[in-house]
């Protein structure tokens, strides 16, 4: 279906057929979250094809589907609400303007994440120019060995109220260097593959792996002071 859509999207008649099809299977439903996630994934190429042919409703549907996740991503990278909003808005604008450059060799969401991550990184670099070294290799593993290893016990986060835990997590991720934070956010939170993460931020696959290792170790160490067993909360 996706191939057919992409192939015959050039004339108005087919555009109308696609729009009707999209409506018939509920793509224009006001609440896309009612759709099971598998359906949401499967219909993405259809929506993208319709949006490419000029169907604004289809593009708005894509925006509605991903706006929360993209805001979460830009918030996690910039750690600043104003920058996160600007980055998200510009990402969707760019996606709309350059939709025809998306050649569907990846998921639309992955393409969108790449644009949004770059918008967020641009703002982060402006705000914290001295904390960034995306082009520099981070070698050496002398500092990798955890200094303190204490038991956390089962479900240690449950020792805190949800709001307290959220505050701790915000503090901990704020302290993580941007180079590491970006990779952690893309790989572990947004669940991009190593290759997709490398492509999204323009670094090599080994650099992604190395930074992810450091990010996970540093976060573990920072959380350790709050989560070790017997520690008063």
């Amino acid at each position: 279906m996706a191939v057919l859509c992409a192939t015959f999207m050039t004339d108005t008649a087919n555009r109308e057929i696609l729009h009707s099809l999209a409506k018939a299977i509920g793509l224009s439903a006001p609440n896309p979250h009612r759709l099971p996630s598998t359906v949401a994934r499967d219909d993405e190429p259809l929506l993208v094809a319709a949006a490419k042919s000029g169907d604004a409703t289809a593009f708005e549907e894509l925006v509605r589907r991903y706006e929360r996740k993209i805001f979460r991503l830009t918030m996690n990278i910039t750690r600043n609400r104003e920058d996160a909003e600007d980055a998200m808005q510009d990402a969707f604008m760019k996606a709309y303007t350059h939709l025809n450059n998306f050649h569907e060799n990846s998921r639309f969401y992955t393409w969108l994440v790449r644009i949004a991550a770059n918008e967020a990184l641009m703002r982060l670099r402006k705000r914290r120019p001295n904390q960034f070294s995306l082009d520099e290799p981070l070698e050496g593993d002398d500092d990798l060995m955890p200094r303190e290893i204490e038991d956390w016990g089962p479900s240690p986060e449950q020792r805190y109220a949800q709001s307290e835990m959220q505050e701790i997590l915000n503090k901990v991720i704020d302290q993580l260097e941007p180079d590491f934070r970006v990779v952690f956010v893309l790989r572990d939170i947004e669940q991009l593959s190593t290759e997709e993460t490398a492509a999204a931020i323009g670094i090599s696959v080994p650099a992604v792996k190395s930074r992810l290792l450091r990010a996970r170790l540093k976060l573990r160490e920072k959380l350790d002071r709050y989560l070790r067993k017997g520690e008063p909360n």
């Binding site: 708005e60 929360r68 959380l223």
Partner: protein, 79 residues
Amino acid sequence: MNCKVVIREISNYIDGDLDVAIKQELELHLAHCQDCTMVLSQMKMTVEIFCDSQSVELPTDVRSRLHDALRRKMHEPGG
């Protein structure tokens, strides 16, 4: 395999991104090293705790501004 090598490969191990031979060596080490086993478990827990906490809501005003900007963009000549 010593602790230093295990820690260097621990993230790749979590991601299932190790050659079979290295994975076996690492698991052999984990079987008798309590510290590395604890670091592995806490690293997995760290990732889970962060993923579970990620239910960021899109504030209504932010959402409205996004959709207003998009509608303006879509109605631009050639937009």
